[in-house]
Symmetry: C2
Subunit: 334 residues, 2 copies
């Protein structure tokens, strides 16, 4: 799955900016790929990029229409079909992270086949993965892990990729979820893989590489999340990381959508080392990323300083303060 | 997925008895459901039950033709199609654990639809599972776990179900793999579920029950197997076991199909408690099942005694010596 930028980002009738977070992720991280947004009447999200219709976007070179908004239940509303077909008529590929497969709608499927464009359903992998082997492979890998879902693992990984590249270190972000796939143009939605192949898919995603090359792998879920820990462990084994960064949201008390208490960062470090050393004997924690978006700057600083004192590894909010300290440490020890 | 016994067990042209281990599992555990076997010329397996053709089997009341042999790569050979269609013509359902879906062969699909019989592909789940919640639920559950794949987790669980029932304890074996599904007539092939739903599928499989009811859940893989640990952890979280039994094959030095060393039983106990208490705070080890099939009886006894001394829990070979001691202990502590 590798699709072509630049993108026309379809927001449909998104009811608020949170519904458009996939589109926002693209604009935040790959503004050069975000040619324009296409909004239907009643759309309450705005990515701050030009409003274009499909003809204008095609004229400006848009290669892919990306569905940048979520819909209730991941269903593709019939009302979106017409615009998608118009984009296809203009020769664009279409990429969606919804549960509904684009090809399951006859109008879309028929148009795509007639125009010879590609339909990408990034939540679904039609690729056949091999079973994971756990064999040691060359290259270096970092995995972001979390105390919970949705704590900033993707943004932390992207910040680390950017910082490594800024220092002329060869590094690639490896996406494991739909927004990450749109941002990087490739990857695998690891939670949609058949269970037998979780670690195999992660091995495929971050394959053997040059000795000094870093793959920065986006983590998923949490080893302490009762819904998704299996995915997190399979990803940990397959990613075979030399280093990991723990991501944490300090104001949260219970896991997203369930009543389980958030584990401590210390517990996540211990569990990640215990689980991870099966395939990466020298695995180590190289930093902690605190998501301070709900704190003011003074509170954020205080939270980070307290954690750094307690944990004895570099701590930062990647988005707010950058990841210089984590990358300094990473490059000094790995 | 719930299908009807008795079964006509199809062995095809199985090249040896190991290839027919699914059929053997049925004969070992549900002989009353194993009406007969159907072998093609050149078959080198023999389950020791009557050879019947489809007409004879149907006449004796066979309800389901079960594919009891594995084929290279899980592919359904064309040469099997004719017999399968004949069974359908006699009104039998067909159940298969192969990767190839029965319905993907037009002759089979067409016959099934014409005769109104059901086709079961137990490796594939078309059921939509919910995300696991981790919420504490009523009833008691035991999970068999392992130091590796294929060490006797299914047989240990079946022995424990049988022993509990012999003591008038309400107990159900819960199958998580294809052979277990054929033996119990229901279950879910947990490694074929989409990764996001591993623990949710396990919650569905062993749902809330009467306070004194035991679900005995067949384990899969190992927390220490780099290919499948994600499945094992998701199953552990979803099964929410009060008790677990560690299964071990003492002559094996490396994991099945890979070079990873077999972990110690102690390491598996520790990892299972550490992982399992997320959803089952009081989880405990109630026994160890040593698979001694490659040892003579004196060696087997010695191995078991040494382990019991070291581990301080009941140890046995369930198949060779029964599980009285484990069930005694289980019922005294849980």
């Amino acid at each position: 799955m590798q699709f072509n930028p630049p993108y026309l980002i379809y927001l449909g009738d998104a009811k608020d900016s949170l519904a458009a977070k996939t589109g926002q992720g693209i604009v935040d991280w790959r503004p050069e790929w975000a040619l324009g947004q296409l909004r239907l009447p009643g759309c309450h999200a705005d990515l701050g990029i030009p409003d274009l219709d499909v003809v204008q976007a095609a004229g400006q070179g848009a290669k892919t229409l990306v569905i940048g908004t979520v819909s209730p239940g991941g269903v593709l509303p019939d009302s979106w079909s017409e615009v998608i077909v118009s984009a296809i008529e203009q020769g664009m590929d279409v990429a969606s992270g919804l549960h509904t497969r684009l090809s399951s709608l006859p109008a879309i499927s028929e148009a795509a086949s007639r125009k010879g464009v590609r339909l990408f359903d990034v939540r679904h992998s039609d690729r056949t993965f091999a079973i994971g082997t756990g064999e040691l492979r060359s290259g270096k890998r970092l995995l972001t892990v979390g105390t919970d879902c949705s704590v900033g693992k993707k943004y932390a990984a992207l910040c680390i990729e950017r910082e490594l590249r800024a220092r002329d270190v060869d590094a690639d972000f490896r996406a494991t979820g739909q927004t990450g796939i749109f941002i990087s143009g490739r990857g695998v939605s690891i939670d949609a893989v058949v269970a037998d192949f979780i670690s195999g898919a992660a091995e495929w995603l971050a394959p053997a590489a040059e000795p000094e090359h870093w793959d920065v792998v986006e983590g998923q879920g949490s080893l302490f999340h009762p819904s998704f820990a299996g995915v997190s462990l399979g990803l940990l084994h397959g990613a075979q990381p030399d280093a990991f960064v723990v991501c944490h949201e300090p104001t949260r008390r219970t896991m997203r959508n369930i009543a389980t208490a958030i584990p401590s960062v210390e517990a996540v470090i211990e569990a990640t080392i215990n689980g991870g050393r099966l395939t990466s004997p020298m695995i180590r924690c190289v930093g902690v990323a605190i998501n301070t978006q709900l704190l003011d700057e003074a509170q954020a600083q205080k939270e980070i300083e307290a954690a750094a004192l307690r944990l004895n590894v570099p701590v930062t909010d990647p988005v707010r303060f950058g990841v210089h300290n984590i990358v300094d440490y990473l490059l000094s020890v790995c």
